[in-house]
C-alpha cells in the first residue's frame, strides 16, 4: 500500500466522494466564522479605520493565488515523472481557481488602495508581479483549451508550468529591482518581532484556513468533474467505433 494508490482514478473517486462535503462544510464554517469575527467583532485600526478589514479577504486570496500555482507545479512534475492522469487533471482543475484567487487579491487590493494610497493601481513590485501571475494563469489555461488530445495537452501544459514558474520567479525579482515598493512588507511572519496585532491575527488565521479548505474542496470537485468528463469521452469514442 503506497501513497500513489490514491492517484488511481477509481480510488480517487472513491475517497474524494465522502471527503468533499466535509471539505465544503469546514470551508463554509471557517469562512463564516472568520469573516463575521473579522468584520463585526474586531476594532477599527487607529489609522486605517474600517478599511483594515479587507485584510480578511485580501491576504488569504493572495496566499492561495501563489499556492495554487505551486500546487499546479507539483502536480505537473508528478504527471511528467509518474504519468498519473489524476495529477494532470488536478493541475488543470486548479488553474481557474487560482486565477480567481489572483483576481480577488487584485480587486480587493485596488478597493483598499483607493482610500489608503489614493489610487486604485500603482506599479508596485507586489502588484505588478500579481498581474504577471495573472497573465501566466491566462496562458496556461489558453494552452489547455487549445489542444484536442488530452495527453498531449497535459504534457505541454506541464512543461509550460515548469518553465513559467522559473520566469514568474525571475519576474518577481526583476520588478523588485525595477520599481520601489508602495505595498507594506510581510506582517504575518513567525520569525519577526513586529507583526500584525493578535486582535486581527486570529480571525485572519481562521479566514486563511477557510480559503485553504475552499481551495481544496473546489479543486477536488473540479478534478472529479474532469475525471467524469474523461470517462464520458472514452465512452463516446467507444460508441463511435462500434
Amino acid at each position: 500500500m503506497s501513497l500513489w494508490e490514491y492517484a488511481n482514478p477509481k480510488k480517487f473517486m472513491g475517497w474524494t466522494g465522502p471527503v468533499l462535503p466535509w471539505a465544503f462544510w469546514m470551508a463554509g464554517i471557517c469562512l463564516v466564522v472568520g469573516l463575521f469575527w473579522g468584520f463585526f467583532l474586531t476594532p477599527d485600526d487607529y489609522r486605517q479605520g474600517s478599511t483594515v478589514k479587507i485584510i480578511y479577504l485580501h491576504v488569504p486570496s493572495a496566499l492561495m493565488a501563489i499556492n495554487a500555482w505551486m500546487m499546479m507545479l507539483v502536480a505537473s512534475l508528478i504527471w511528467l515523472v509518474r504519468r498519473h492522469h489524476v495529477s494532470a487533471l488536478a493541475a488543470k482543475a486548479a488553474a481557474p481557481v487560482g486565477i480567481t484567487m489572483t483576481l480577488i487579491a487584485l480587486m480587493t487590493g485596488a478597493i483598499w488602495g483607493q482610500p489608503m494610497w489614493g489610487t486604485y493601481w500603482a506599479w508596485d513590485p507586489r502588484l505588478t508581479s500579481f498581474l504577471i501571475l495573472f497573465l501566466f494563469y491566462l496562458g496556461y489555461m489558453a494552452l489547455w483549451a487549445a489542444i484536442d488530445d488530452p495527453d498531449t495537452a497535459a504534457d505541454l501544459t506541464s512543461v509550460l508550468c515548469i518553465v513559467g514558474s522559473v520566469f514568474a520567479l525571475l519576474s518577481r525579482y526583476a520588478v523588485n529591482f525595477w520599481n520601489q515598493g508602495l505595498h507594506q512588507g510581510a506582517s504575518l511572519s513567525l520569525d519577526k518581532e513586529e507583526n500584525v496585532s493578535d486582535v486581527f491575527f486570529f480571525p485572519l488565521l481562521v479566514c486563511i484556513a477557510g480559503f485553504v479548505l475552499l481551495f481544496v474542496a473546489l479543486v477536488l470537485l473540479r478534478t472529479r468533474t474532469e475525471i467524469r468528463a474523461r470517462r464520458l469521452r472514452a465512452l463516446q469514442l467507444r460508441e463511435v467505433r462500434t
Binding site: 496562458g139 509550460l160 514568474a168
Partner: protein
C-alpha cells in the same frame, strides 16, 4: 547544425521568406509612437529607449510562428527530428537562425531609428548594447514558445499570449539598463542581469524546446 542554420538563413532571405518584415514593423511602430504621444522633444527623448525596446520585442514576436510552423506543415520537421543530431541542437540552431534574421538587424536598426525618437546622444551605445545582449534571449524564449504551439492550428495568437509573459524579465532588465545608461547612471547591474538571463535561456531552454518538440511530433 551548421547546415540547418545555413538552410534556415537561406530560406528566410529568399523571396517570401519574410526577412525584413520584422524590420519594417519595427520602423512603423517607431513612426507611430510620436503620433500617439505628441511630438514634444522632451517627452520623446525620455521614453525613446523604452519605446525602442518594446518595439523590438514586438517585432521579434511577429516572426516567431515561422520558426517551426512551415517545417511542420511540409513534414521537414519530422525529417529533421530523425536526422542524426539531437533535437536540443535543432532548437538552438533554429533560435540562432531567428536571431540572425531578426534580432541582429533590429539591433543594428535601433540606433538609426533612435534619431526619429530624439534619443539623447548618450543613449545610442546603450540601446545597441542592451539589444545585442537581450535579443538572443528573446529568440530562444520565442523558439520554445513556437515549439510549444507548433501542432496547434491558428496558434499565432496563442503563441503571443504564452511568450509575452516570459519576455517580461528580459524587457525589464534590458529597458532599465538602456534607460539608466541614457540618463548617465550606472547601468552595470541590469546589464549583468540581462546577460545572465540570455546565458541562462540559451543554456537551458533548448532542453525544454526539445522536450515539447518530442511531445508534438509523437
Amino acid at each position: 547544425m551548421i547546415a540547418l542554420l545555413l538552410r534556415d538563413l537561406r530560406l528566410a532571405t529568399r523571396a517570401g521568406g519574410g526577412f525584413g518584415l520584422g524590420l519594417v514593423f519595427f520602423l512603423i511602430v517607431v513612426v507611430l509612437v510620436p503620433f500617439g504621444v505628441g511630438p514634444e522633444t522632451a517627452i520623446l527623448s525620455k521614453i525613446a529607449s523604452g519605446i525602442l525596446w518594446v518595439a523590438a520585442l514586438l517585432a521579434a514576436l511577429l516572426s516567431l510562428d515561422r520558426i517551426f510552423a512551415l517545417d511542420f506543415e511540409d513534414g521537414a520537421l519530422t525529417l529533421i527530428a530523425t536526422a542524426p543530431i539531437p533535437l536540443e541542437t535543432v532548437g538552438l540552431a533554429k533560435a540562432a537562425a531567428h536571431w540572425l534574421t531578426t534580432g541582429l538587424p533590429l539591433t543594428l536598426a535601433a540606433p538609426v531609428l533612435g534619431v526619429l525618437l530624439q534619443l539623447p546622444a548618450s543613449g545610442y551605445s546603450f540601446v545597441a548594447v542592451t539589444l545585442l545582449l537581450g535579443t538572443p534571449a528573446l529568440s530562444m524564449i520565442g523558439t520554445f514558445g513556437a515549439a510549444l504551439t507548433v501542432g496547434i492550428r491558428r496558434g499565432g495568437l496563442l503563441l503571443s499570449l504564452l511568450v509575452l509573459p516570459l519576455y517580461i524579465p528580459t524587457l525589464i532588465f534590458g529597458a532599465e539598463a538602456a534607460r539608466r545608461g541614457t540618463a548617465g547612471l550606472d547601468a552595470s547591474t541590469p546589464l549583468l542581469m540581462l546577460a545572465g538571463i540570455t546565458a541562462g535561456s540559451v543554456a537551458l531552454l533548448p532542453f525544454a524546446t526539445a522536450a515539447v518538440l518530442r511531445i508534438n511530433l509523437r
